[in-house]
Symmetry: D2
Subunit: 408 residues, 4 copies
Amino acid sequence: MSTWGQYFRVTTYGESHCRSVGCIVDGCPPGLELTEADIQPQMTRRRPGQSALTTPRDEKDRVEIQSGTEFGITLGTPIAMVVRNEDQRPKDYGGSTMDLYPRPSHADFTYLEKYGVKASSGGGRSSARETIGRVAAGAIAEKFLSLAHNIEIVAFVSSVGNEHLFPPTPEHPSPSTNPEFLKLIETIDRKTVDTFSPIRCPETEAAARMTKVIEKFRDNHDSIGGTVTCVIRNVPVGLGEPCFDKLEAKLGHAMLSIPATKGFEIGSGFGGCEVPGSIHNDPFVVNTSETGSPRLTTKTNNSGGIQGGISNGASIYFRVAFKPAATIGQAQTTTSYSGEEGVLEAKGRHDPCVTPRAVPIVEAMSSLVIMDALMAQYAREGAKNLLPQKAQTIRTSPTTAPNGAPSL
Amino acid sequence: MSTWGQYFRVTTYGESHCRSVGCIVDGCPPGLELTEADIQPQMTRRRPGQSALTTPRDEKDRVEIQSGTEFGITLGTPIAMVVRNEDQRPKDYGGSTMDLYPRPSHADFTYLEKYGVKASSGGGRSSARETIGRVAAGAIAEKFLSLAHNIEIVAFVSSVGNEHLFPPTPEHPSPSTNPEFLKLIETIDRKTVDTFSPIRCPETEAAARMTKVIEKFRDNHDSIGGTVTCVIRNVPVGLGEPCFDKLEAKLGHAMLSIPATKGFEIGSGFGGCEVPGSIHNDPFVVNTSETGSPRLTTKTNNSGGIQGGISNGASIYFRVAFKPAATIGQAQTTTSYSGEEGVLEAKGRHDPCVTPRAVPIVEAMSSLVIMDALMAQYAREGAKNLLPQKAQTIRTSPTTAPNGAPSL
Amino acid sequence: MSTWGQYFRVTTYGESHCRSVGCIVDGCPPGLELTEADIQPQMTRRRPGQSALTTPRDEKDRVEIQSGTEFGITLGTPIAMVVRNEDQRPKDYGGSTMDLYPRPSHADFTYLEKYGVKASSGGGRSSARETIGRVAAGAIAEKFLSLAHNIEIVAFVSSVGNEHLFPPTPEHPSPSTNPEFLKLIETIDRKTVDTFSPIRCPETEAAARMTKVIEKFRDNHDSIGGTVTCVIRNVPVGLGEPCFDKLEAKLGHAMLSIPATKGFEIGSGFGGCEVPGSIHNDPFVVNTSETGSPRLTTKTNNSGGIQGGISNGASIYFRVAFKPAATIGQAQTTTSYSGEEGVLEAKGRHDPCVTPRAVPIVEAMSSLVIMDALMAQYAREGAKNLLPQKAQTIRTSPTTAPNGAPSL
Amino acid sequence: MSTWGQYFRVTTYGESHCRSVGCIVDGCPPGLELTEADIQPQMTRRRPGQSALTTPRDEKDRVEIQSGTEFGITLGTPIAMVVRNEDQRPKDYGGSTMDLYPRPSHADFTYLEKYGVKASSGGGRSSARETIGRVAAGAIAEKFLSLAHNIEIVAFVSSVGNEHLFPPTPEHPSPSTNPEFLKLIETIDRKTVDTFSPIRCPETEAAARMTKVIEKFRDNHDSIGGTVTCVIRNVPVGLGEPCFDKLEAKLGHAMLSIPATKGFEIGSGFGGCEVPGSIHNDPFVVNTSETGSPRLTTKTNNSGGIQGGISNGASIYFRVAFKPAATIGQAQTTTSYSGEEGVLEAKGRHDPCVTPRAVPIVEAMSSLVIMDALMAQYAREGAKNLLPQKAQTIRTSPTTAPNGAPSL
């Protein structure tokens, strides 16, 4: 369905040619300072038309809060947000090529078969425009996470086609064992990522290589995919709900619900299958480097900040695969709805690589996952800390500690 | 939480040292022939101790249906299933090494921090024993899927360490473009997979290479990871719920909730990011080869049977990454709960590679995802087919058609 | 939370002084003809300011569909609906009486304690304006129910103060044993109810008595409560999900979520406790009076159309209690937020009896309950009818039969 | 479905003739001392066969905890509980009267139509035996509520047939305005209720009158209904989730899911419709009588402890209607499944009034509702108290305060 989350519950609506797109956020903590100014920046980062590398359409995407705040403070009631569509006219069926053919690797065919209605916008809910509601809701969650726990979420492009920021090597089948990679994810911020706009790969040389790949595919009227890596820092220990709602499972679900995604890996990921257990295991050490009392943390971080489905206080990082855009300028031989072979040609200019634009969407979905997991843990801790302490129990409060993990 | 699914709802319980493990299946269709004999085979395939390559412990794992059936027919009411634990005695805290140290890359530390209770079994719900309830529930779903739609689900080991059944090549960065791979997933069955026991990689030469890798790590008291590929055939068109519950997102969630998983990819997956859109797009063709009326299908299957989050009638396939087992015989330098460095040594023999045992668990979770998506679509189709037909609507019934996709 | 339903899922938003109120309906069957004209009539029936008996404020309440339809047909995607608020200015805190005192039996105090935010509109989500989203969503469900099953839902006022349409008597402690009552619920329609506007009690004499009661309380600057009876006809057999989601439990939940409700009773209700089992039991008879094949039905209907939590094909009827409106013109001695005793006087004219306006809200919530229960049963029947038939199973299809109960 | 609650989630299973009945409780706070001894007392209070007034069958109903505890402490993982059925043999279809006729006002007919399977136990999940899982789960919730908030839940029989403990009078159409009633609900405890066993009406004279009614119906081989009143004391301010999950709506849902219930009323209830607003409104006063700082409370309690769907710190009380038992010894003329009229006679002795046995079930469902609402509020408060305080916000912590309402 179109609802995400149990505690911080987001319901989105809207397709390409309707009046508006948007969402309702139910369960937002009351007392949070919030205006459109907190939300618009990520909306703008998500917007197409930001460079020659991405689609040249210009959408305004101004968000309007409808409810749930008063004098700039959240009330605890549902927050509805609306972004008007500029082009609301659904096309009538005039026998154009688009109407006759289900576009290859688009959702036209599957939407028609699922819903039994021939919609002007094909699989309208499968378009990137649907992600507006996610980004708006994510911006609210992010503000809370930042204020309450100093949580930082940063995504960036880690590969385009076969050009990788950290290509797999025999020594490092996964970047998780590479100190350079670990250093990057501990320090990278959004501002730095955006200085590498529009490619959003935060390393000069790799960015240049990736840009060249995209330009090549653009010139061929073709498209290419890529990957986005995301890091979430300062996550408290204890988030994630065994057994089905492990934190990586929720993150995977969230990322694979973004249009055009084909894969997700947490921590060492697929490359980690090739690393011996003796290296892959993350031994515990005492962390005394930060202000505050000493805490247990891990020396390495092949786990990606999650063990047994529960956050361990280390940085959570993962990678998401985006397929080459299905809309290409090249002519494609395919078959019409009525079973006749023919050639389909998309008009206009198309985005040869959607991956850079996915960055704020990945960040938004990350914030929704963490927010929901946090509130589940607040409920549990709220309950357990009211009980008399026993010999077998310890009074931990990771979600209330400023830096995540509890002190020793 | 410990519940999966909205329609076919599975709730599991149990940890290593309690009286029993099991589950309740709520929402199973009534009128299905069902006895323990339908469930036990997958329980046995999941069981450890099947060869020198896997852990030598012998658990009996006999499932007992408690409710929800009468005279071998499901009633439509909740089906509870119980498997007794043979060793129910929780260990007392006697100062053994295990009690002093959180095991690296296990859930001991995160469970303690999350729940605040020092449990004998550490992160007891994070152990493989927890998967018994999933496999039992999955066997019921599988029986329905087979009877109602002839759906076939087969998983097999596709890599161990750096030995792959279909290694990525410049020509085929993803096996999705490789005809050999596509042929395999259309034809493979469980019986064939099990003839390659215990490695469960259905190709003689690759199986031998993988076995050699495992033996090497076993002899070093180390461990190694691997991947499992799974195919789901004969899935009706139209399954998957946009926008958050896309079919691949639910599959990813399900797979990443299995203990020790690090990644998930659908169809072309991560390799697909490196394939040009002009090759990656799956053009439509008319399928007339099977009995029945001609139907629209795709010529290639880089999508992995899902477009826009909705099944398109082609075979669904995906790959799941399993990390090297965290329990190894080698001594590991780590830190105790109280912050003192020391050396942890696990006693006894341990499973050097859990991947082959994961095969029936991957199949079980697949069946739960498809079952739930099917019932969502039954509800929608049941409703829409009661409405008067309009010019814009077509009366499709993919979930009632024998072979998935509707005829032209 | 602000979400109702699992299949036909309604999420509402909005309070008194925000930009708009409305809802998102997710899971609406595709292919349903739908425009604002289908929704507005119930919005208008809900609107205040319709007579001297109800509140004189005039709100326009024009509904605008934002998404989910194209060319007047539902797409199967979320339908967002928006009704703009005319007076959007939240009041600032100027030390007025209203700001100093929590109004007795309003939600001002509990909202402040729950959310910790002092909102201009007090318990804004607890106001009757919140019900706009429910009525809009209910109108969509109603259209489906009518088209697909000829289901009719009619509510009317059955008492005001101590004036009852069917007062309890020693012979009939519940109207369920009174043939006059049973005849009324089988024949009453909305048009007839509205000819008795604004009181909406469909019997001349009782309506006059009730009107007199309201006028008396209006003239005393006081208020009085009342009850609404609702009947749902032509409901298919088999709706309701044991054990926690019995059909009457969902109806009760739905009704008791309407502001100002204090009670709910199904069928014979509280009065039924005083009827002997030998009279209360509903024996089965064969119904041959309608067109179609003979079907089993009950001779009497003390059950109110539900047995064991599941609809039995007979008319479902229930009664809902509405308390006297908390806002009264009389001065009330109470205590301020800061603990000082004082007198609170509400300005302006107030609705002395909200019960008649509740009629379309009760109907709307009824339609949402039945819609959701129907879709749950479509899912189950869709599944079971794909299984091979066994000796113990019968192939019933109550939800697809035109008149509810299956033929013998 | 068979699941109750979002946070403290209870899933039950089992029917009359299967191996066992029971439940899984998921989300129980970790660190709670818990053994079977905490659960058995309510199981025993629920058990039939306790006197000549209730059914003489003797069921043992010994509960066994399967998982989720270690050394008598909850782990935070799912707690499975099992109660074996003594008589597991499902009857075969031998043409007995019971097999030919759907019993009037039982669930035989509706279960058959809903599920399409002719079960030996008819509507097996609709029997009172299904409530065992509820009572077991409720006992766990109760223990937490008592330890963490000193919450007390007491139910008792308030009427049998037309004999009432507080009959409605012109002066007190609802007992909510009667000081005697209010005094009773503030002081009554379970021990006192049980001294009036088996009738469980805690007033000598009324108990005698009710007993006489039951005896009369027993001797006539007939049955009679009654009502149960329940009070929940010391509930923190702020529980209940607007708008659909108001606290009274959840209580109503919970109570109406108990077999044989026909009605629910909160606070003044149906009688409250006849009380003028000027009397019905509950003015605020300062409560200084208890230890601790002065707090705002209400002078009267017609609201029943809930305003705007949210608890206000006053005692919550409500009443539940139970119909006359459907199984009676008298012969009943009815119609067989195949449409032939005949006479149905139940053998053996039957419970003429189930109301007294419902007392612990009403208490159990109350505890599940309050527990779930509490955990929702812990999550919200946990979140909001981490935010910087603003001019419009106050830092309340009702769920952590010992006596419910916050101090002034």
